[in-house]
Symmetry: C2
């Protein structure tokens, strides 16, 4: 219970607290001899400086906060891996906040973060977030923010994403090339950057390739499996698309389940391609064509920039979007 602190080290060594403190941080004006003695005892007693106390002086908690919509999703899981690897390498700690796509929760988290618990924030915004004032408040407090994946353009900071528009375009083009004539897009909330960009890519591809003459089947899904299943069932029953481009993995899974239930053959009756980082995409029946995002790299890059900002005080986060490309991997679900 009684932990070793600087005071105890000082007592044991017959030194002042100040000297010990300076020795521990390898200060220039402490003799090597003293430093050695201090270091030795610190190691022996496994002294760990109290981060809360040091925060009070330095206003740095060596902690970053990560706010995510969800975690049961391979994309975010990989992103966290990237974030964690970068953070721990630099001696930072990572607090996780899950908004569960709920704006209120996101607001509560950001509000709390004004307390100084973390030095900076990585965020992928909830799909229900349309008002960004909670983040502007954080920004005003001087907390560095880096957006990843679901970004918001009107912040003067770095955003790290993949090429959503281009990928949406290519996914749709791929379906066209595989002979689809009635292509639907299962979109994620178009108030999200990724939702709107993926949908734009879809629409542009239809137009450029002169498919469906100005028509489009764009279904904006919500954040509920039951409702989304209804929406997609309706689509399959009434619009009867021969190609589906799903903006996120979850929609593709629903499609697979529905196709099985409705005895629709993938890819014969309907071809499916989806943004996805599922490990088992190639083992599905049939193997799912995917746009695979560089999730780990996106997380790592976002974390790396945030940490750079925290460590170097005269480094400013540039107001730009860093784009790391996704890869289209065609599999049987879109075979001709």
């Amino acid at each position: 219970m009684e932990s070793v602190n600087i005071k105890k080290l000082a007592q044991l060594l017959n030194l002042s607290i100040a000297t010990v403190s300076k020795a521990l941080r390898d200060s220039y004006d402490i003799s090597q001899e003293t430093k050695d003695k201090v270091m030795k005892l610190a190691k022996e007693l496994n002294y760990q400086p109290n981060p809360h106390a040091s925060f009070l002086r330095k206003h740095s908690s060596k902690t970053i906060a990560v706010i995510l919509p969800e975690i049961a999703n391979n994309y975010f899981t990989l992103a966290i891996n990237g974030i964690e690897s970068e953070a721990h390498e630099k001696g930072y700690h990572v607090i996780i906040y899950l908004s569960h796509e709920d704006h209120e929760r996101e607001v509560a988290f950001t509000r709390h973060l004004q307390s100084g618990r973390a030095d900076g924030v990585l965020i992928s915004v909830a799909s229900t977030t349309t008002d960004y004032s909670h983040l502007h408040d954080l920004e005003k407090k001087g907390l560095p923010i880096v957006f990843f994946d679901r970004v918001c353009e009107d912040f003067n900071t770095v955003k790290v994403t993949t090429d959503d528009y281009q990928s949406g375009y290519l996914a749709t083009k791929h379906l066209i090339e595989q002979g689809c004539k009635r292509i639907a897009h299962l979109a994620i909330s178009t108030s999200l950057s990724i939702g709107s960009n993926r949908a734009k890519g879809y629409l542009q591809a239809l137009q450029n390739h002169d498919v469906m003459s100005g028509e489009s089947f764009l279904i904006e899904c919500v954040n509920d499996n039951v409702q989304d299943t209804e929406l997609i069932k309706d689509l399959l029953l009434h619009i009867k698309p021969d190609g589906i481009f799903a903006a996120v993995e979850r929609y593709a899974i629903i499609c697979y389940e529905l196709c099985e239930a409705m005895q629709l053959n993938i890819p014969k009756d309907v071809k499916i391609i989806s943004f996805s980082n599922m490990q088992t995409a190639s083992l599905l029946n049939p193997p799912l064509s995917t746009i695979t995002q560089p999730a780990f790299e996106i997380g790592r890059e976002a974390a790396s920039l945030l940490l750079k900002k925290l460590e170097k005080k005269n480094f400013q986060l540039p107001n730009e979007t860093i784009v790391i490309q996704s890869k289209l991997i065609p599999r049987k679900s879109t075979a001709n």
Copy 2:
């Protein structure tokens, strides 16, 4: 940058710091009138108490640490969800540490945690951990520890697991009932509680049902996809089992990949069942029979007990193992 603190509130209200502090915590000996005034201004200015400062007095950081082997795994993802839901409900923050199955990293994390950064620890130990002194050190410092999934019996605390032995037994029995005569077990490190219990269940089922007359094909996998692939390839080529019970999802995925490459038909040539929380188990080709663990519940229960310990000072974590049952879900991969 300049954050609102108690001092500022006090100045603005012409009250003492102590009064404001007490008013904020709704203390009995402050008049309702004063409380209202304080609360109102606090809300207006969005006052957030500094957790580091309050730690220094109260020795409570309202933070728990979660140490996990990995995160790109549906089991742990769900467990985190359970932990997070419980923690945030009680106003606690969750720091994530990923050991990546590396004992050294685990030790480094636990060592750091002696600093007071977190009030308690939830841990699922790395497969390379055989020496538990780093955790005993933490325990000595008075940090409550709760084990989940990969537990260690010789700590005087709560462990939350699933019925690994029983599930291993049932999985093997299931293969036997489906007609398998040569059943292999792909075990995770048997120095882990889960590894050893699942393997014991396997062996006991073979014995009880008098299959393979005392023989067994128990392959202890390592923590590397390439090496594991070699091990399993060897198994399929030389031992030619007609049934495989995989201790973790990753091994089952390797089996699927190898069977495809080697043109082995699942379930005709070899039947496969695996511990797994994969969302897409039923969409695989063929659908994978699983033992599905109550991962969310395990995480939640573990967190709930830890938090109870942190909140109620005369509650002691009981020295027992809480078992939440898994469910065997037969699918085509073990069909007869």
